[in-house]
Assembly symmetry: C2
Homo-oligomer: 352 residues x 2
Amino acid sequence: MKNFELFGNIEHAQSFLESIKSKKSLFALVLSYTETCEIPGITFAGADKDSMQFTPPADAEYIHYGYCKTITQIPMTPDGKPTPALLTKSALESSSIPHLTINAGSKISPQLPFIETDMPFGKNISFQDAMTDSQVSHAVDFGRIVGRSLASLTDCLIIGESIPGGTTTALAVLRALGFDAQVSSSMPENPMELKNQIIESALKRIDSDHPYSIVAKVGDPMIPFVAGMLSAASGVSNVMLAGGTQMAAVLAFASKIGFNEENTVIGTTSYITNDQNVNFNDLIQKIANVPIISIDPDLKNSQYSGLRAFSEGFAKEGAGAGGTTIASMLKTGNDSKKFLELVEKEYSRLFT
Amino acid sequence: MKNFELFGNIEHAQSFLESIKSKKSLFALVLSYTETCEIPGITFAGADKDSMQFTPPADAEYIHYGYCKTITQIPMTPDGKPTPALLTKSALESSSIPHLTINAGSKISPQLPFIETDMPFGKNISFQDAMTDSQVSHAVDFGRIVGRSLASLTDCLIIGESIPGGTTTALAVLRALGFDAQVSSSMPENPMELKNQIIESALKRIDSDHPYSIVAKVGDPMIPFVAGMLSAASGVSNVMLAGGTQMAAVLAFASKIGFNEENTVIGTTSYITNDQNVNFNDLIQKIANVPIISIDPDLKNSQYSGLRAFSEGFAKEGAGAGGTTIASMLKTGNDSKKFLELVEKEYSRLFT
């Protein structure tokens, strides 16, 4: 059994699943950075404050090589729970879905060939603008170029992200664009009060309702770049935004610059869609007529506590974990049980 | 009539042409740099010594945008003859063949999204080693990664290069690997004596017959990178090396590291294959059992002297001009007459 759940436009979701089953997919991992992640207590996407900057390149290296070059071990929470890229790696490897890495404002470049976009990292939105308007404009333009190129090479472009602290900037953008969103987190005790403080002070700087200005003031580089990719790619091929809250922010911004809803879905994990605190499904439906395909990777039944932790609310999503798992199951015919075996094998290769 | 000429393994060339006709192609333009081009009189691939470094990024920008960002006009010889990228641009645009830009040691990065490989430019081989052995090794490794990725996204990977002065380093590598090659040039009065002096002094530094060491001492970064691409890509898809003498050097080095001859062809212009001073066809057959597909773009019949110049020996090839023209004609069904019309239209857009 494939534990797929569909939300929103079910018919569209079903025809999307059907159409990508026998076709070519390509996974693009977008690396970025916001200094907002350096605020103590905001994220667990890295062992400590200084190591957070290495998480995006290390995710990319791990997915590509099976090990990291920038750091010695794969990215982990302070108490040793692994990056969701572990799901991505298992998904891509079992299905031979090709992947490319894109640097869209990562502080550190990955040690592998990657698509360079000449974008600086985002600043800490708690006390300054993330970017300038012209940097947002550049991100959208280059996102469009990359999206059009990659879409011309595949039938379904799956876009994931790795940006520590990105849920906070995503939430700020969503609120600024008028969506009353609650945010997901890599931590089970979601530090909502801290996030709200940061977002409140960020929102105070907004002095224009122009979407470029909003993203410049309270967003991060990933959001306009991936929105640009979506905008161009969805005109040519199917696009799956693989992620949770951050992809909601991408969708909200993309709605302002234009994209083709008919070719677009969100692909994510059940840890996002079942999170009662967040109401992700309602949020997406308010933003756009885009269905959600959600997968339960059944990690609650794992023999490893490090994997069960995902189902307990740690690192619920990230690095395209949910979306690539969905695409992988469609391509290989694997069910959740078989996929869990692959993930456990990978976990055991890494940690035992 | 498509003015194709086939050399070498004709049967292989014909089946290659047949197989890519209805399939997907992808053009990858590899930008690189060798300080060897700064030797006065060695190349015309740029208006003067200082502007040469801008030719690779400007070629890429022109092919992508239709105009350059790094410089104001498209790359030209000192007396105003345009870059062969003009053919590439016309070919790709008329056929909607997608393209990607790769920076493999360019001195200047192009102002568009590109694949970054973390490679330094090559040094002037007339008095120092071009690279270290470990830089060659890195170039091959990263070339393999990029080649495998791109080959998984297409049926035929067409690889072109833009590296001013690259024919001199190519010739040095060919001679060092035991091939008595004469070299083509962007100039009709090929400065053979000067090139031979440079090559002689470069060859004196060779103290090992290891191919990595040879390329490190007398080559340029493009050669090991594209050889790595070919090595990995030819295992997965068809590969067309689009170029003249420089692709001969790639082929010679690739023969040392291994590649699949059965999936490989050279695609170039008749200005290379008909050059009596060079004997390109014999050279390729000595290196590997790889056929040559050659196209006469009929520029001798152009109303513009700037285009007729190609047929008179200026900028005979480069930026994948011949290979993309072949792929474009196959895909669109255009003959040489129709293609010349497209090229003239583009020339007139740029210059009149």
